[in-house]
Symmetry: C2
Subunit: 390 residues, 2 copies
């Protein structure tokens, strides 16, 4: 469903130019590596087709999604040129769909490697990659990538989530499968804590893995890893959250441009007396008379219920505190300090913007900017800002 501006309770502005600028900034920071873009979970809720198209136009040649469905949708949106890798790898029986849509699976565990090996052995691949090194092929002169059976090898170095264990990797090296490795990758568990000792442990383990796969491009860093320094960049970096404005180096000034602005419509402004309660559970008591504004955004729109009694909106240049519990479709702000001519039904309160961004809201909600983004917006009117030529 598309939500029109005049009907929707809130407008979510998504700055595609800022996404592109952030990608360029990341690419410059990891200048010796290729810079891919992670657009999984619908580009962290912001719209994978639009974000990836803007990034592809800016020169990004490789995208990461989480699932096969996301990969198929992105292939349809982007056409045949860019590389698309699928982080979760192939579920049983889905290898032919990876081939049909020219998607690069991550192979995360021995069963996926075995299945993929059998598939590429049996499939009629025109330019099947073999042994080590990239197996992909470009069609001559067209810049169109043709399926070559290539895959990305995922080795775990200390996340214990997906990827071969050290023992499984050792076994693999004993009997290398007939797969052309597009890359070997691993994932950092603590990259957002630059001083965490686990980072260097993982980097060293990964470097040892890479030594055993000479010629295979290596990828370790996601958003935060890009800011851990050149020794973490290897050949390919894969930022996600930082593209969308999340601070990749918490505790330091955010090097990224903000991407989202969320403006919520006021449905009602009311007088309230001292001693009256506000919202569910009568959980907020007014300690003075005032005015309340109720906006048409609630936790069903991703304004997490853990923001109850926390945080602020902005109205007419002032902070207006969120009061009471966040409801499913509604949130209440105390607008007592705002002149009535600004606080009226139809006016908008800014929930996210330059003054209070996704990381700020996340901190108030007890979570991280990533979850604020992926939770946002099923009922918003969405506006995409894109000044670049399409």
């Amino acid at each position: 469903m598309t939500y029109s501006a005049d009907r929707a309770g809130a407008t979510l502005e998504i700055d595609l130019d800022a996404i592109v600028a952030n990608w360029r900034r990341l690419a410059e920071t990891a200048a010796r590596a290729q810079c891919a873009a992670v657009v999984k979970a619908d580009a962290y809720g912001l719209g994978a087709a639009k974000a990836a198209a803007a990034l592809a136009a800016a020169g990004c040649g490789m995208f990461f999604v989480a699932t096969l469905d996301e990969g198929i949708a992105l292939r349809q949106a982007l056409g045949r040129a860019p590389e698309i890798a699928v982080l979760n790898g192939p579920l049983s029986g889905t290898a032919p769909e990876f081939a049909a849509h020219n998607l690069i699976p991550l192979l995360n565990e021995p069963g996926q490697i075995e299945t993929w090996s059998q598939f590429v052995e049996q499939a009629p691949l025109p330019h099947r990659g073999r042994g080590r090194g990239p197996g992909h092929q470009d069609w001559e002169g067209e810049g169109i990538r043709r399926f070559g059976g290539e895959a990305i090898l995922h080795v775990d170095t200390g996340m214990a989530r997906l990827g071969l264990t050290q023992a499984e990797f050792d076994s693999l090296m004993q009997a290398p499968p007939p797969i052309g490795w597009r890359a070997v990758m691993s994932h950092l568990a603590c990259a957002d804590e630059s001083d965490h000792a686990h980072n260097e442990i993982q980097r060293a383990r990964f470097a040892a893995v890479c030594e055993r796969l000479p010629g295979t491009p290596a990828s370790l860093a996601a958003s935060s890893g890009v800011f851990l320094g050149p020794s973490y960049h290897f050949d390919l970096v894969r930022p996600g959250a930082a593209l969308y404005g999340v601070n990749p180096a918490p505790g330091k000034p955010n090097p990224m441009r903000p991407v989202v602005r969320l403006q919520a419509r006021i449905l009602q402004v009311r007088q309230i007396d001292s001693g009256e309660s506000v919202g569910y559970g009568a959980a907020h008591l007014m300690d003075r008379p005032g005015r309340l504004a109720t906006v048409a955004v609630g936790y069903a729109d991703g304004w997490l219920r853990s923001l109850s009694h926390r945080g602020y909106g902005r109205l007419a240049g002032r902070r207006v505190p969120l009061v009471g519990r966040v409801s499913m479709d509604l949130t209440i702000f105390d607008v007592s300090e705002v002149e009535p001519r600004f606080a009226h039904p139809g006016a908008t309160i800014e929930l996210l913007g330059d003054a209070y961004g996704v990381d700020d809201a996340a901190a108030d909600a007890g979570t991280i900017g990533y979850e604020m983004l992926t939770s946002l917006g099923r009922r918003y009117h969405r506006v995409y800002q894109n000044t670049a030529p399409a």
Copy 2:
């Protein structure tokens, strides 16, 4: 996007029969009142078109949504017969769309009442309601409701969110507008706490409001209010959460049938040694060797990040603890106690079901079942169970 069973990382089963059974149970509990159904926020994330169609087939004649967009979509799904009320009321300029789609607005504040009054005065309404009492009309013999300018008056009795204040209601009664009131309603703030003194305060205030609108159907109770006893039922009850299996009377046995079952695919099972860390922040340390299973569900799928280190899944009849932080697309369970023949890639771990329902997950996440439901499922394969004749 529709997610096919073999590609999706998880399957969400939604039992429409249980929703219908829950509605019947609620209707019986409030037997003297009409029982509507609240299907806002896409039926709390479960699919408004499907849930409402099943309920309409079972005899439910009135539905509540939050926004105009939801109302238009539901009208298109249900056809012309059922009444559809829009809780947020008309935003500026949208009155003609309410008429075009035959939607009943709630009028929450004086500006909405004034705008709607002007609209029904000027619009060429075939059977315009006037004064007090229901203004709706049925087309003869067809059971099709025709737009009559009717609206629902929302009076606040102690929620301070939407609805006229007492002073605004007094003013309204001085000069009643030319609106046929389909109903007068208010909303309880503490209905889930049956002993809370605020309930009786709100009930008494609402009864006093109703006395001044004789002949107008009155509605106070949502899901939890239905279980506060007959004095809270008035003429119309409007349950939402209880339809979808949320316990309307926390602390007592849940009288509702569970509605959702969520089964997540295992992507990988790994050995892990004692002393190794798991997931982001290296925040979980294994205190013994074991086996971990990673499933393809994360906070982008509504498995809230606040479930990190909390809660359980079920595999082969056993509880398997969630370990480490929930990631965007992945969650890790400790399956050390489960025989390897059951814990393998492709097997499913039940995240929600009869043994661990939405209220259980909500409690572990520090929230309420309502938010668990509305957060669920952008990437799930959805299966609707409906044995009733369509």
